[in-house]
Symmetry: C2
Subunit: 98 residues, 2 copies
């Protein structure tokens, strides 16, 4: 079981990720990205995919053409899943790929 962030930990982490939205119902964070075209969107997804596999922590994501919507939560955090440091680390790395 991975530790779920408590409220103060979560607030401190989200302050460093101003472009990510917090979904209270899912205890998840999400961000929508737009690129010039599909190749740029998929190139970005591939960087995220390689990092996610290495970190053994994977996104939920949707893509259509130049748009990529990413949601991060930890399925084995807390009783029903929730935000953990692993999500914050993945979001922070994703930001460096832009």
């Amino acid at each position: 079981m991975v530790a779920q962030l408590n409220q103060s930990e979560r607030e401190a982490a989200l302050a460093q990720l101003p472009d990510w939205e917090y979904d209270e119902k899912r205890d998840a964070i999400s961000r929508s990205f737009r690129f010039a075209d599909f190749t740029q969107a998929y190139a970005f997804m591939s960087r995220v995919a390689l990092h996610a596999e290495k970190a053994d922590h994977h996104p939920e994501w949707f893509n259509v053409y130049n748009r990529v919507d990413i949601t991060l939560t930890t399925h084995d955090a807390g009783e029903n899943g929730g935000l953990s440091q692993r999500d914050i680390d993945l979001a922070t790395t994703i930001e460096t790929f832009l």
Copy 2:
């Protein structure tokens, strides 16, 4: 503008794609795929991505870990988008990647 399939064309095409579901509201087809793990799911997505880019016809898709949900419709078919031969061709090619 790409030609939207009429009902008899659509029914004939879907008969060849028994694992795809028709969404009447969107005039789209979709299928959910499960793989052994994330690397197999993403390898499949990459084959679809390369083909889609070459065909200039891209999927709407969602992935979480070993699951890939694909929806196909043609945004410039009919007045509000709809199913075209391009979707049928893409679905038929995707089937060969399994």
